[in-house]
Symmetry: C2
Subunit: 397 residues, 2 copies
């Protein structure tokens, strides 16, 4: 069991705010403030350059990788921290393509993050070998896996609708056709139980500023299955992925296993905040988290649908098919979200018409979720949503 | 003029330490502690997701880019922060090669950071088009620039010896032969006056944790000359380099100018520390800094050579040809550096036999430099450096 009152107490939450956007940026873990002070004053300030060894900065990308690895079902020693999710997608995709030099298709879906697709586009152009980025509807992915496909590049939870792919099933289909899998866990890690090893995933990547609460711009992570770890091609072959970074050899020799997916100097200050954020997970059972997440989202859907018939559920109705978020479609969704924020409920909007609400049991209560639904109902009742001023689709920034 | 007592007071320096390793990791700027507290508590803690607009996090990579741009002679709006130096080298080199599709040679030198060479190797293998990384001696670079060369990939200041390339001259030679230039300013930015625009550099990159004191793992920067900014190919085409990141369009459209060199979500916490560190430069005249740097390094060389005949100067004797560091060769250099650190003088060692000392006028005084030289002389006198225990070359970590 997990004591969610105890986990809630581990976060700073602004007075009067109901925060349904932890899927975009998790709140400040109280421990991060003191941890950062210590890293600044006692480590950087006092140890200076010797902090790389004395304070363990150099090992931290692996240590934090293992802490996250436990949340996504990775084998110990096969996850490393660093860079941003975009960079990690590039590394994973480049390594995966290198394993299938005879094939030219990267299969993805329209529910993937545009950024993952952009990264694939840039890599394809850099490679200049005529790869094709084939983007199908999410529900068409299974059927689109053929022996033409080199790599499937999929995000487990759709950032707009919350729809959840079946990672084990799609991975097994990909393998049956000889394709390599790259899974983006940006909306999965810390949101629901994940089992990359059990699913047989080849590569997985994710960010740490959403459900893992690592702070704005916190570093990303990458997982490489043990069977590939010592042969995966490191396209971004920086010195910290070298087998002996401090030997300053003229030629690159990839490090053992996941080490080769390190690139440059690790972001020590950002890792301090993330390390503090990960402490929360020491007292969390992922099964209990998932049950609570479903309870919160089911409550929200029931309350909103009862009070707001103008809104259309954009997420799967079956909670088993959803991540830890719920979205509704509404043409004036941008204006509704702004009005909600003005009433202390923070959700977000994704073009063209998605109002998105994240459910984060670590710090969100059932009564807050009910209150958020009530405020949304008030917003919907208070405005003449057919009036012309709401018909303009405001620019999203 | 610059008041170096005032700049010294802006840093926290550990009691009893003479720090000659600011070229590896600059010390903690006092202002960084409070700035970070504010970013954690008042921005992340209170603003949550709205911090991206309210606190200006989204613009910070450009704002900090301009602050650094002023130190390297860049045009306003043509430098951006993010990622690590290795990643920025990859971006710059990929874009530079894309401008010379008919050529296959990347020219570098043996004084370059191995990491830059590793990144070039990885890119060459990813591209798979038979590029050649041609590495010559530093003094042979000028003669090796021919019309075969697509890109020159050079670090202005040699990380081991401190030897300074003539950026304007080599850039002009490269252009005369139709080559594109990528300059690594890791040991230049904040160390000496740099003028990328005046030199006609095409691309420049650098890190911010050395002479710019941004903290361990602080983000890197990239400069793209205005004449290339709107056409440079972004191989790492992440969402924040998109022309409209929040429109979530399915296809990548590169952003205007330097924006396209942004990749993923910016590292907000690391940028807070760096922003505080850059405040120091508001009161610094680069000409005065250079004069003081030369004064400090000349003092050190004179004192050390007078007292330690066993040591061989590895840096250029003419200060005009050096960056802001001095190196001596000694076979048992690793052990000497360890002994020096035990006596409160922090320098560093670079294989195979280089003892390296950085001179950072912002916080280093003439009397400290003399004292460091005296302690080095004592270390040299106190030990029987011919004894067998010093003959083993210890592993460097």
């Amino acid at each position: 069991m997990t004591d969610f009152d105890a986990t809630r107490a581990m976060f700073h939450l602004p007075e009067g705010v109901i925060y349904l956007d932890g899927n975009s940026l998790g709140p400040l873990p109280r421990a991060a403030v003191e941890r950062m002070q210590g890293t600044l004053r006692d480590e950087w300030g006092e140890m200076l350059i010797t902090g790389w060894n004395q304070a363990g900065w150099m090992e931290q990308p692996r240590d934090l990788g293992d802490r996250i690895g436990r949340l996504i079902g990775a084998e110990t020693g096969h996850v490393v921290l660093g860079d941003t999710l975009s960079i990690k997608v590039y590394q994973a995709l480049a390594a995966a393509l290198d394993m299938r030099p005879d094939r030219r298709v990267i299969l993805s879906d329209s529910g993937n993050f545009p950024s993952d697709l952009y990264i694939a586009e840039g890599l394809i152009r850099a490679l200049g070998r005529g790869h094709e980025l084939r983007v199908v509807a999410p529900e068409a992915v299974a059927a689109a896996i053929t022996d033409e496909v080199a790599v499937t590049l999929l995000t487990e939870v759709d950032y707009r609708t919350g729809r959840l792919h079946d990672m084990a099933d799609l991975t097994s289909r990909a393998h049956a056709d000889g394709a390599v899998t790259v899974w983006d866990l940006a909306h999965s890690a810390g949101a629901l139980p994940v089992d990359v090893a059990g699913a047989g995933a080849d590569f997985a990547v994710g960010c740490t500023y959403k459900y893992l609460n690592g702070g704005p711009g916190a570093p990303a992570f990458i997982y490489v299955a043990p069977r590939h770890a010592d042969t995966a091609f490191p396209a971004l072959s920086g010195w910290l992925g070298h087998d002996a970074p401090f030997a300053f050899e003229p030629a690159y020799r990839p490090g053992a296993g996941i080490e080769r997916m390190r690139v440059g100097t690790p972001p020590v200050l950002a890792m301090a905040a993330l390390d503090a954020a990960l402490d929360v997970w020491d007292v969390v059972d992922m099964g209990a988290l998932r049950a609570r997440s479903i309870e919160l989202s089911e409550t929200f859907i029931a309350e909103v649908e009862a009070a707001c018939p103008m809104l259309t559920l954009a997420s799967p109705r079956d909670p088993v098919l959803r991540g830890s978020q719920v979205s509704f479609r509404f043409e004036q969704g941008y204006a509704v979200i702004q009005a909600l924020i003005a009433r202390g409920v923070i959700g977000d909007f994704r073009a063209p018409d998605i109002m998105r609400f994240g459910f984060t049991p670590l710090y969100l209560t059932n009564s807050e979720v009910r209150e958020a639904a009530h405020r949304l109902a008030h917003v919907m009742q208070d405005h003449l949503w057919d009036a012309p001023q709401y018909r303009t689709r405001a620019a999203v920034t």
